[in-house]
Point group: C2
Chain length 339, copies 2
């Protein structure tokens, strides 16, 4: 491989001149710049990443901690990752993958100057990694919002807003009795801040709008969805509107509805909160509030770049929810559904 010395020789200039042409940190005359650039192209020169990192103490790498535990929503993870990688490349950075259970991963990557910044996905309310992140010298961005955000930068969908929006959509079509089919009890209890925020949004808006709203947990499986629908109809008769925040259960829920002879949206209106792609695989189209994975990944990288260029902000950014109509919400039937 050609080195910067080869380029300098070929262009008849010094090594530092080549460096300045590359970085633009000092003015170089037009003719010289051209000669250097031609030499670079001729030799197919690329700066050695390690050498550059050593000299500049910048690796141009962002570390991304991805959850690989089973049961996670893979669809949305991939969207995040795609958004992060694409945006990082636009800023001339690469992305290094860390796994959740690589406990020392954060320290390792930071202490060895392997990465310039860290993006951590799947943050829990009281995440075990928070102390490590707070102590970190590198800028870090969390995807998800923990309970205590002091000193941290976070991005996520505004789940409370999403809950409110879903309720508003259903309420304005005249629904009076709603149920949120949400995360499993387990996740609600322990970890998932987004589930809590979602529930808050739904209940809050229901109270404000004067409609009834209850919550039914669902296991994130096909049969979990079916069971959840049964539970809704058994425990909350008269329900006409559903907010489903559980992609994995959605299919089973809809299938069970069909089995029980319930038409969507005639007998039952449904709003899903889910990645957009997910809904494509369903038997019936479902109106949804999209979890914009790619967009959030993109924002995370942009926050990283801002931090790297010296802006000292530690802020939480919540992406506004948007409702996409696919026809699964309509006015409730005059004669409400009974179990």
């Amino acid at each position: 491989m050609a080195t910067i010395g080869d380029v300098a020789r070929a262009a008849g200039v010094s090594v530092s001149t080549v460096s300045y042409v590359l970085s633009g940190k000092r003015t170089i005359s037009g003719p010289t710049r051209d000669r250097v650039q031609r030499a670079i192209a001729d030799l197919g020169y690329r700066p050695h990443a390690g050498a550059r990192a050593l000299a500049s103490s910048r690796s141009n790498v962002i570390a991304l901690m991805v959850p690989f535990r089973p049961g996670i929503n893979v669809q949305i993870i991939m969207q995040f990752v795609g958004g992060v990688v694409t945006t990082a490349r636009e800023h001339d950075h690469d992305v290094l993958v860390l796994t959740q259970d690589d406990a020392q991963g954060i320290d390792r990557v930071a202490a060895s100057s392997t990465a310039d910044a860290l993006i951590v996905m799947d943050i829990e309310s009281d995440d075990a990694r928070l102390p490590a992140l707070r102590a970190l010298a590198l800028p870090s961005i969390l995807i998800g919002v923990p309970d205590d955000t002091t000193g941290l930068s976070c991005v996520d969908l505004d789940f409370a807003g999403a809950g409110r929006l879903a309720v508003r959509e259903l309420a304005r079509h005249g629904h009076q009795r709603l149920v949120l089919v949400g995360a499993s009890q387990d996740r609600l209890d322990h970890r998932a801040n987004y589930a809590v925020r979602m529930r808050q949004g739904v209940l809050e808006q229901a109270a404000a709008t004067g409609v009834a709203a209850d919550v039914v947990p669902a296991e994130p499986t096909f049969s979990g969805g079916a069971a959840a629908l049964d539970a809704v109809l058994a425990e909350h008769p008269g329900t006409t509107g559903l907010v489903v925040h559980n992609e994995a259960a959605l299919g089973g829920l809809l299938a069970r509805a069909a089995e029980r002879g319930l038409q969507v949206p005639d007998d039952l209106s449904v709003v899903a909160v889910s990645p957009a792609e997910m809904a494509a695989g369903l038997p019936v189209p479902v109106s949804l509030i999209e979890v914009p994975g790619e967009r959030i990944g993109r924002i995370a990288v942009e926050m990283v770049m801002a931090r790297l260029s010296g802006e000292e902000l530690a802020e939480t950014r919540l992406v506004s929810p948007a409702f996409t109509d696919h026809g699964s919400v309509a006015a409730p039937a005059p004669d409400p559904v009974r179990p």
Copy 2:
């Protein structure tokens, strides 16, 4: 951050001694080694990745090219990635993510010594990246098998073997008329080598066993699966056994079967070729031949490591298929199914 010099001073030895303790490339006496190791621990020293890469011309990074195009089977992608990352860490390597459409990604990563090796996923029969890969100075491993493998190293499931195994399983239960519900016509035509190999395996074994086998393509969607089942029953009446190699269509296919009053396995036996997790989300349990994503990722990394340590092999490794019974295969009903 502490440097190797700090460690050397703290331990009262020279820099090179610390380096040799770390690498083990020369013998260091027990006492000295201990002192150095204590100093390392005390200072929390980690070698600077860039400096190490510069001096040793080894980055300890593997680049992984991941497809992010829509419509891809995300589930299995994540399994691969998980397997790759985990195994790479076991060998003290990190993983850098490249995207498919980052065309110059391969060259960039190679020319800048950012990575030591490359793993490329989702290889097509006549993949556009093959020339670049053949010309590469870095070791590269393909996940998937192109038509011409000369000079390349590949790993994949033995799809032909999987096809044969599926047919044997069905045949030994007495099925006489089988259909392979496979990839969409589009993928079959253009790209997906695995689809071609699968079909070969099925047809070959059917011929050998003396059973009838046909192929019906399916779009990789819920409704594509439903349509495929309709097509099977319309075009190939008397079919009692199905091999489904199309995870995304499997749910729709099973749902349509239920709608038409066909019981699995009483009226219809089904073998799926799919990642294991996928099958968990289905309304009925389905016997399957697993696509062992994680395992393949692991093997890919092990091949990388072998290449990096000097073994000059360029080989293709096909993972043997295994059948897992979940009860969706049984003897056909005496009175065969009619459309």
